[in-house]
């Protein structure tokens, strides 16, 4: 069978082999490996068969621990089974890896290696996860590129069946897992040839079967365990040879030859680098270049790291080597050195003893760390490492790629060293785009066109933002006649495109351009105007680098072509027209073919609109004449305002400008502790339109402020005399109502923080009676209002905050409270953040938050800026994220500590009162304080101040301890926040336990009914009939009733809320939950982009969810028992509308209906019946009178 050339990413390349060579695939989503599981699931859903003609069973588990358990079972029962994972997920599999290895089980799993969370979480790549498995007994096989990941996935599967040692095949997360590259696809015949049926049969013969029963998993005593453990040695001894034989057989068939240790470089090399993974590709390129320049240098790429073959390693080293630098992509604090370094040192000693090298062969070995969390690893760094080996006294331990100005371990890197700009025929292109403008999708399409329809090789790597709304993407593309090994970002681009004009004032876009580069800018200006709009920095670069400058008004072209705001096709056309990567006409023809392929199914009209966009793009693309001199009258604006704190200016702003790589070690906190409230300095200006307030028709309901996901529209009531000095456009009206009679009222928009989601406008009930189209809030273009509204907002923020003791805990009242969670990176229109914001408004100044990993931890704490902030007294939420799986337990721990501190403080108050140090009145006030109201809390805070004064200056032990603990006399509110993936699945065991303890914690489950952060995989909260990843055909089982499970305890406060359906009930439930002195759980409906509709209608959908019976509203308050009342109060009725009315608006449902209408009907009928039965049961529970009292 002929092999095809395909352009795929590393995950797809790996999954392609894994899916074709396995029968059972148990998975769990985790970045960056999720896509491997998704591919496998999708293929099985489409009925794609493996090489034995079987459609593999793909099952999603509740955690990686569950996935590895399922795989272990499947293997024991004789199936070929696999899984995909990374990072913490791999850690959860370690217990089973020991078992699987101990039982000598043939098994190949695939890991996109990712950083382990330490001082911070990172989704990016390094080897810290796989290195944590090196003691388990699995073989560790490493790939450095997309092609290798494809090839070695097969080698791992083939070798494990022969060797019986299980294989962990890994490659670098993101750099390889997400790099799109042109590779040669292995045919089914290749796979079959490498995996002989007799080896599969032998694996089956070892399986557990009642027809020939054996016992595995015994418990052994001191008499037996040790010897039995040593009994596996021979298998490890021969494993490297088996792998080499497998490599050789692979080479004989396919032509690509691998070795356990692949040597590249000068045959008489004196300086050698040893490393593994994608970095070795950059090193490979560099070494080849340096050898060509006459340097005696070399590289050893480690393929099989475990079992480590000393003989093969020794044989791979040229005898001329004098010094070796071993590079580890991991950090092992406190160790002699990182693992690969330590192994190389010992291997050399042992090789000498064993006579594998000359007795005098004793090269100097130094070890360095590089590339943690996908830090760029470049030819310049490789050169620096090799240079270090030439130094008279090389650093024995070093880092490369950062500037360590604290422990001075880092090597100096010459930034001018690069090798790509002289590579013949290599086109290098960099594109700046918005996540939503389709730039990355179009670039992937271009790579496919070039990769699959020409002889050129192609590579694409994409850098994404941490923000979910208004996110920037930077695409790095290379095209050329030879295979592309450059495993690092484009540094000197021959083509630079900026698809968003605003970026020109935020980022150093042209920093990527090489002299003579082509630059394409999408800007709303004519070729005559555009030059004058640029800053002097940009003009300088264009002139200095002799850049050929093109401009197009892409958004106008898109609008005229009926493409809305999607400029992807237009910008892609321009790229092909001026980059010279293909002859222009040929390229345009290919784009049109691609359009026909992509959109053909959707009708001729769509195809024609795209064709028109292509033609119009060419007609509106203009070269800009570049003047000889800089004429701009302005510089790029500062990244943050001058008022920002020093740390923000020094550190945060550098990261915001995309230059965080330049920050030295000394800039960073040593333990992952960061200041709160930094999003306020990042004025993102991402909304094209913002709401404008018409006070003349406002009814002062404050609903706009409640629903705003970003705290970008706020309400304030304030004394009229504070209006003095207000900006001329600042709007104000008399407060309606008695609470604040005589005071003024304002609704104010934060124009530069608003994301333009329109939820506030959608919820606004105040219509102009003679023109109902006009409401008290209308969307208007942001640009003309930016400066004036920014000044108004500034003034608004400085108006006095409301007296918290005068506020009622209803919708209107709560929205006068300052949100202490603002301008997060959540999606525009996010359905989760309004709940979190409300919690911070009500209790933020005394709240501790334990946050499960997921969307809420990413928009809650992904650098550079974080949204949790402080009030004018400096108080605000204290927030932390432990892990995904342990969040409930982590939150309970916070509670236990806070309670212990409070207990001790109370004891000390009693003791010191007894000793006369504190007056009795103060002591009894402190101890008996009623803190159930805002007034009570403020009174207690005043007492604590008094207490601290009373014991100030005292040096006795009790007083000193009380001084530290006194603040705990003010009640603290502990919130445990996470999504449904955490609460229903991976963290459920812990959540259940925490609820059972009855301790005073408040759990907020932000239920989007899928794993949102990792891309919409099903959870047990996914409703029946909805499509999600791993439930492509629509989930066939009912949503788990987490509320009912919690209610079963009887003493847990439980609420089921949807703020878009009944906001008053949401507010009530959150207040109740907090006031309940035991465990509380609030399960909150959260609309989400993963539901597939315009989130402007999120609130409408929430109403429909409730009215259709999908999402009943209720509160279960055990306190009502003591009043002789039923604890359960239903707050929504039986279904008023057909479930279809709700689901038909969401793509997650409609795609199931469209694909399989009959099945969908069955699922939806069953879901509707399930909803009916659930409601009937709730009604019964709510009707039951408490008779036991």
């Amino acid at each position: 069978m002929a092999r095809r050339w395909i352009t795929v990413d590393g995950n797809e390349a790996t999954a392609s082999v894994a899916h074709r060579t396995n029968e059972v695939i148990a998975i769990y989503p985790i970045t960056p490996s999720s896509n491997m599981g998704e591919f496998a699931d999708e293929w099985s859903a489409k009925g794609r068969r493996n090489i034995w003609g079987i459609v593999p069973e793909v099952i999603e588990m509740q955690s990686e621990g569950g996935a590895s358990g399922a795989v272990h079972g499947a293997l024991q029962a004789g199936a070929l089974a696999t899984t995909f994972t990374a990072s913490q997920g791999l850690l959860l599999m370690i217990p089973n890896l020991y078992k699987i290895a101990g039982e000598l089980t043939s098994y190949a799993m695939h890991v996109s290696a990712r950083t382990l969370a330490t001082h911070a979480l990172s989704i990016f790549g390094d080897h810290s996860d796989v290195m944590a498995c090196r003691q388990t007994g699995v073989a560790l096989l490493c790939s450095g590129s997309v092609q290798e990941a494809h090839d070695l996935a097969l080698v791992a599967q083939a070798a494990t069946l022969r060797a019986r040692v299980p294989f962990l095949h890994f490659f670098d997360g993101f750099r390889t897992s997400h790099e799109v590259s042109k590779i040669e696809e292995l045919a089914d015949d290749d796979l079959h040839d490498m995996i002989p049926d007799e080896l599969v049969a032998a694996h089956r013969a070892r399986a557990l079967s009642p027809d020939r029963p054996v016992i595995r998993g015994t418990a052994q005593n001191p008499d037996a365990f040790f010897q039995a453990r040593e009994a596996c040695n021979q298998f490890y001894d021969v494993c490297p040879d088996i792998v080499q034989e497998t490599f050789d057989r692979f080479a004989a068939r396919v032509g690509r030859q691998y070795h356990l240790f692949d040597y590249v470089g000068h045959p008489q090399a004196e300086r050698v680098v040893v490393m593994m993974g994608s970095g070795a590709e950059a090193a490979h390129e560099t070494v080849i270049r340096l050898v060509a320049e006459g340097q005696k240098v070399g590289l050893i790429k480690v393929r099989l790291y475990r079992p480590f073959s000393i003989a093969a390693f020794a044989a791979s080293l040229p005898p001329t080597v004098r010094s070796i630098a071993v590079l580890d992509r991991t950090k092992e604090p406190g160790a002699v050195g990182e693992p690969l370094y330590v192994d190389v040192v010992s291997a050399l000693v042992e090789a000498r003893v064993a006579g594998l090298v000359a007795p005098a062969f004793a090269p100097l070995v130094i070890g360095g760390r590089y590339g943690l969390s996908s830090k760029e690893f470049t030819p310049a760094q490789v050169n620096a490492v090799l240079d270090e080996l030439s130094a008279s006294r090389p650093k024995p331990h070093f880092t490369v790629g950062i500037m360590d100005d604290v422990t001075h371990l880092s090597l100096k890197v010459d930034p001018s060293f690069e090798i790509e700009s002289t590579a013949r025929g290599l086109v290098r292109a960099v594109f700046f785009g918005l996540g939503s403008d389709g730039t990355v999708g179009a670039n992937k399409n271009s790579i496919k066109i070039i990769g699959e329809e020409t002889d050129n090789f192609a590579q694409g790597y994409f850098v994404y933002d941490s923000k979910k709304a208004g996110a920037i993407t930077i695409s790095h593309l290379r095209f050329g006649p030879k295979p592309i090994q450059s495993s690092y970002l484009v540094q000197r681009a021959s083509f630079v495109a900026c698809h968003q004009y605003e970026f020109m004032d935020k980022y150093d876009v042209l920093g990527y351009a090489e002299p003579g580069a082509v630059f394409l800018l999408n800007a709303p200006f004519s070729p005559e105007q555009v030059w004058d709009e640029l800053s002097s920095e940009v003009q300088e670069q264009i002139i200095e680098k002799r850049v050929k400058f093109y401009v197009i008004d892409g958004y106008s072209v898109a609008r005229d072509a009926g493409m809305g705001t999607r400029i992807n096709t237009i910008m892609q056309t321009c790229f092909f027209a001026i980059s010279g990567v293909l002859p222009k006409d040929e390229a345009i023809r290919k784009i049109k073919e691609a359009i026909k392929k992509t959109y053909g199914k959707r009708g001729e009209q769509v195809v024609q609109a795209n064709y028109a966009a292509v033609d119009q793009a060419l007609a509106h693309l203009h070269e800009v004449p570049v003047p000889a001199r800089v004429s701009a009258g302005r510089r790029m604006p500062p990244v943050v305002s001058d008022d920002a704190p020093d740390f923000v200016k020094r550190v945060t702003a550098v990261m915001m400008a995309n230059k965080g790589d330049l920050l030295p070690v000394s800039a960073f906190p040593v333990d992952g502790t960061w200041p709160s409230g930094t999003t306020k300095w990042e004025k993102r200006n991402i909304a094209a339109e913002i709401p404008q307030w018409d006070e003349s028709i406002c009814i002062q309901c404050n609903k706009c402020a409640l629903v705003c996901p970003h705290a970008a529209i706020r309400a304030k009531v304030y004394p009229s005399d504070t209006l003095e000095g207000s900006p001329s456009t600042f709007k104000s009206m008399d407060f309606k109502g008695n609470e604040f009679k005589g005071q003024k009222y304002t609704i104010q928009v934060a124009p530069e923080d608003c994301t333009g989601c329109t939820l506030c406008v959608m919820v606004c009930p105040a219509k102009d009676k003679s023109n109902p189209k006009h409401k008290s809030l209308d969307m208007v273009p942001q640009r003309p209002l930016r400066e004036s509204e920014a000044a108004n907002y500034e003034f608004f923020l400085n108006l006095p905050e409301v007296d918290r003791t005068a506020i009622k805990s209803d919708i209107k009242g709560t929205q006068f409270l300052q949100p202490l969670f603002e301008y997060s990176g959540a999606c525009a229109g996010c359905g989760e953040t309004p709940y979190i914001k409300l919690v911070t408004q009500l209790f933020g100044d005394r709240t501790m938050i334990a946050n499960a990993t997921g969307c809420s931890s990413i928009y809650g704490a992904n650098l550079p800026t974080t949204p949790y902030t402080v009030n004018c007294e400096g108080r605000g939420p204290a927030w932390s994220n432990s892990l995904f799986e342990d969040n409930a337990e982590f939150g309970l721990g916070l509670r236990l500590a806070v309670d212990k501190h409070a207990d001790q403080a109370r004891d000390l108050v009693k003791r010191l009162a007894g000793g006369g140090v504190i007056g009795d009145a103060l002591a009894s006030g402190l101890l008996a304080a009623d803190q159930t109201s805002e007034a009570g809390i403020q009174a207690q805070r005043a007492r604590v101040v008094e207490l601290k004064k009373a014991i100030a200056g005292r040096t006795d032990n009790d007083a000193t301890r009380l001084q530290q603990l006194a603040d705990y006399l003010v009640v603290k509110s502990v919130w445990i926040v996470g999504g449904d993936g955490w609460a229903y699945d991976i963290g459920y065991g812990g959540l259940d336990h925490v609820l059972s303890t009855g301790r005073n914690v408040n759990v907020l489950v932000l239920d989007t009914e899928v794993y949102s952060n990792t891309g919409g995989q099903q959870s047990k909260a996914t409703p029946m009939g909805a499509a999600a990843k791993f439930a492509t055909a629509g989930k066939a089982t009912q949503k788990k009733d987490l509320a009912l499970m919690a209610m079963a305890y009887g003493n847990v406060y439980v609420a089921h809320v949807a703020f878009g359906a009944k906001d008053a009930q949401t507010v009530r439930a959150i207040v109740d939950a907090e006031s309940y002195p035991g465990a509380s759980i609030v399960i909150a409906y959260s609309h989400c982009i993963a539901h597939g509709y315009d989130l402007a209608f999120g609130l409408e959908q929430q109403k429909l969810a409730v009215d259709s019976g999908h999402w009943p509203l209720f509160r279960f308050d055990p306190r009502r028992n003591s009043l002789g009342e039923n604890p359960l109060v239903l707050e929504s009725g039986a279904a008023k509308i057909d479930l279809r009315k709700y689901v038909r608006n969401e793509s997650r449902y409609s795609m199931v209906e469209q694909a399989t209408p009959e099945r969908f009907k069955e699922l939806l009928d069953a879901a509707q019946e399930g909803n009916r039965q659930r409601f009937a049961m709730y009604e019964t529970l709510a009707a039951k009178r408490e008779t036991t009292k």
Binding site: T31, T565, S1012, G1016, D1094, Q1154
Partner: protein
Amino acid sequence: MDLSTTYLGLKLKHPLMPGASPLADDLGSVRRLEDAGASAIVLRSLFEEQITRERLADEMHVRAHEHAFAEALTYLPSPDEFVFGPDRYLEQVRRIKEMVGVPVIASLNGTTPLGWTSYAAEMQAAGADALELNFYHVATEERESGADVERRLLETVRLVKTSVSIPVAVKLSPFFSSLPNLAHRLDEVGADGLVLFNRFYQPDIEPDTLETVPRLALSTSSDLLLRLRWLAILSGRVRASLAATGGVHTGIDALKAIMAGADAVQIVAALLEHGPGYLAIVLSDLERWLDAHEYASLRQAQGSMNLMRSPDPQAFERGNYMRILQSWPASPLSS
């Protein structure tokens, strides 16, 4: 009794068929319609807007979130699983065609001569025996004249006619200044039939919330009168065959339509109210009446009461207006 008729050049065993409606969405109900004797099956319309909106919605609310965030390159299962409205529609045409023995008439609803008309050819390829083109247009533009609207209609029909070889019927609204003139020009561009009339779903106003709400009121027999008048006026004057739709609830209603000149009679509201089986009752009532009144065939009655043959042609013209006005009892207030 010979009830046969020819509609759009198709020989039908009788004129009664379900009109474009959700009745044909469900294969079970299609089977019941055929069992009840329907002479053809007309499918619900595929809307121009549906074709463009689905694609836009997918582009704006699903695709726009893709490839924007490192942890989630997509948020829903692979979109090539996504079956768009037109494809579903074509599939339904195919399945109905496989299931029933009577002609299948597909329906397209749109008002612009743009790309969506290419679906006409696909409907033919999917097995449709004829096409009903529903020109459902509500004039809201002050710049567009009545003549402009008619030009657009004619252009759309011409375009569809060039892309298919099956017969094409045009479903019209009653709001044209001169239907006979328009009908004549539709004849010229090759329309094979005229379906009188489509019904505009009228928005209602909700005073409490200042919102407009859609109201769906099914037709009653009184809606038939408007159709009778125009069938009678056009009958015998146009080459295209004529169908009545709207207001046929009984055998007598059907008979009246036939007498006014209808070659085919479509029923929707009555079938939605009483179920697909009701078609058989209307049919047997019609047949019984013809029998009782000793008609030799249905053709004998066809067009017997049209403008040309009616003993009282003024009734369909302006004179009728005057007569009715004068016969209306004065309201109690003015007395």
